[in-house]
Subunit: 393 residues, 2 copies
């Protein structure tokens, strides 16, 4: 365990977390926020809503790190057990209340010989507010001067995890590399510690960009943020026409602050006849090639661009499954980008024997269409999967 | 700890999980899948990519339950450490390989005196395939006959967590109740164990429905699933017009299998002028009331319904923030549902001093518009927030 002065252990309380009925966001938020502040989460455990189990988890956490943050299980409904468990851990020692600016439940601070425990409510907004105001300042004061440490990340679209790892192997002497494959993209993280950590991380990122070329789609942010940034820089606007992705491409774009300067809007042409009416796809194209075709994606992108008066149009069409459609296997999709005088498109035919969930196929199509936009707006050459590129913009 | 015969402990390996750079989906998936099979996850811990830390986490897990599932840290890239850690835990004892039908990394099975450890890759599709094929059958064989145990859930839209807990307090004698507030909705879970668990759970769900009335929006599923089911039953179709939610309402609907029978499509009218062009909002309404108004939401719902030839139209407009727009505070939004001869609408003005993230505001608007649809399509009376209801359909 890396139990240095900035080490923090988490305990996340709730039956629903163990049973998978809810996906925890407090743990990831704390992991990121504490790392930003120079601290480090060294262990994290879920505990059920039972005092005995919470006591055990808090004692283990105190063995891992001198500071422990507990979320959840504070309150007045019947499943709240953290306060009871901390009373047992404290053995009569001093328990202090932490005020809650947003909600009703107070937090708890417990100072013990082996460390300090901070308990905050599980409601994410209340958790975050209390951590910012009360917990983080106390953790930083306790940690004192921290050793320099930084983590940097790149988002790569095109090569697979193993191919990226081979390319980046020279950087392993600088820091710890990790690879997080997601639908259609891989996040590469480089963690550098010790003297000159920040300068060495800068150098490692420059080297990684050199090795990976224009498959690097974002640095420390999302692909949608890169696309919005490129559109702002190009003083250009965008409209979307979605069939397969049913609004998720537009949804990914509107999550970026500042998007309203460049995103006009779009259409969700889920039913085939709406591809003609809403996205202005010529009936002849639909009759000849059907809804799942490169020509249809191109016509949707061009149609929505004109209809919404945008510089660029982006479109998705395909088969999410589980059944095939008109002989197209689930996972088949086509994405296209159109602008005045040009188009680019990209198609996916699923490899034989590979099946993906509806959700994964949709997320992959969102990623591929955003990356095609990145290449088109940024004036880059064809990406690895762009089989028949149109003229480069 | 509830370390009965079906108890399983999880260890999830990966720096990225502790640092919050990726949100784990393997833990929730295992929690749900094992519970479905009658098993129970009694503890779950994240460990960094360090052999010492993985050894410690596996030893703790073996203290919690006789069966341990480890995900991640298996493979050939530089951050893979699980195999090394298990060799140390095994102390030379028998390690068996688990084949992987989907990817390259093999899994590991380790039989020890105090229990069995199964290690599977962290890539979700490979993890799930190996658990289904090799791990789950072995866990069930080991557990033998399991005591009856079931968990049921209801989704409630309208009352808050505390109000629901007060209403449902008579059910606390039957089982363990837990409450999971999300943007705009609360999931209530009832866990019942022991003799007649299934019959008692049925009775508890009936009693909860009685106590909560028509604020129960779904049972064991999502609100979008309820809405799609009601539309199918009514032989009706739907189109959406989104401003604030930018495609997320359509995205929630298309995630439901079978939606293509009822969802026509829609428009994302992000720029104000597109509300007139795409969603057929009269220019006079936009001039008089602006883009953030009940009248605009109603006109969008009616416009998109006609444009897409759908039975129902649903619309959202509002301010995600962080800045106010035309004197409307961030978090203000209006949702509307229109059909031949009627409309219903619902507005949110954020309480003074309460601020929410852009993402939370959007998710709340998606939930409220789906719930308004549920009430309109299902012919229910006005919900708690429906201040000026139109005629009930």
């Amino acid at each position: 365990m890396r139990a240095g002065p900035g080490a923090v252990a988490l305990v996340l309380v709730g039956d629903e977390l163990l049973a998978g009925h809810v996906t925890d966001t407090n743990g990831p938020w704390l992991g990121r926020r504490l790392a930003e502040a120079g601290l480090e989460v060294v262990s994290s455990a879920y505990a059920p809503d039972e005092p005995d189990a919470v006591v055990k988890a808090v004692e283990r956490a105190l063995d891992d790190a001198p500071a422990v943050v507990v979320t959840g299980g504070l309150g007045t409904t019947s499943d709240d057990v953290t306060r009871l468990a901390l009373a047992r851990v404290s053995n009569g020692l001093s328990v202090r209340a932490l005020p809650n600016g947003r909600g009703i439940e107070q937090g708890v601070r417990l100072d013990l010989g082996q460390g300090t425990v901070y308990a905050v409510p599980g409601v994410p907004a209340e958790m975050a507010a209390m951590v910012e105001k009360h917990v983080l300042p106390a953790l930083l004061a306790r940690a004192g001067a921290l050793p320099p440490r930084t983590t940097r990340s790149l988002l790569v679209v095109g090569p697979g995890e193993r191919q990226i790892a081979d390319l980046l192997s020279p950087l392993e002497v600088t820091g710890r590399l990790s690879y997080l494959p997601r639908a259609g993209e891989v996040e590469v993280r480089i963690r550098v510690e010790g003297a000159d950590a920040f300068a060495r991380a800068d150098a490692a990122i420059r080297a990684a960009r050199e090795l990976l070329g224009d498959t690097v789609a974002a640095e420390g942010g999302s692909l949608a943020e890169t696309v919005v940034g490129l559109l702002i820089k190009a003083n250009a606007t965008l409209a979307t026409a979605e069939s397969l992705t049913g609004g998720l491409l537009a949804g990914a774009l509107v999550s970026v602050p500042g998007v309203s300067a460049v995103f006009r809007g779009g259409v969700v042409a889920y039913a085939t006849d709406l591809k003609a009416d809403l996205a202005s796809v010529p009936a002849s194209v639909l009759e000849r090639d059907g809804p799942v075709a490169t020509s249809t994606a191109v016509a949707m992108a061009e149609g929505v661009r004109r209809r919404c008066g945008a510089t660029f149009g982006a479109a998705t069409t395909g088969v999410a499954g589980p059944d095939a459609q008109d002989d197209h296997a689930p996972g088949t999709f086509h994405v296209a980008v159109a602008w005045e005088g040009g188009v680019r498109h990209l198609s996916r035919v699923p490899p034989a024997g590979v099946t993906s969930s509806r959700d994964t196929i949709r997320r992959m199509a969102v990623t591929w269409s955003l990356d095609l936009l990145r290449r088109a707006v940024g004036g880059l050459g064809p990406g690895p999967g762009e089989s028949r590129p149109g003229p480069t913009r």
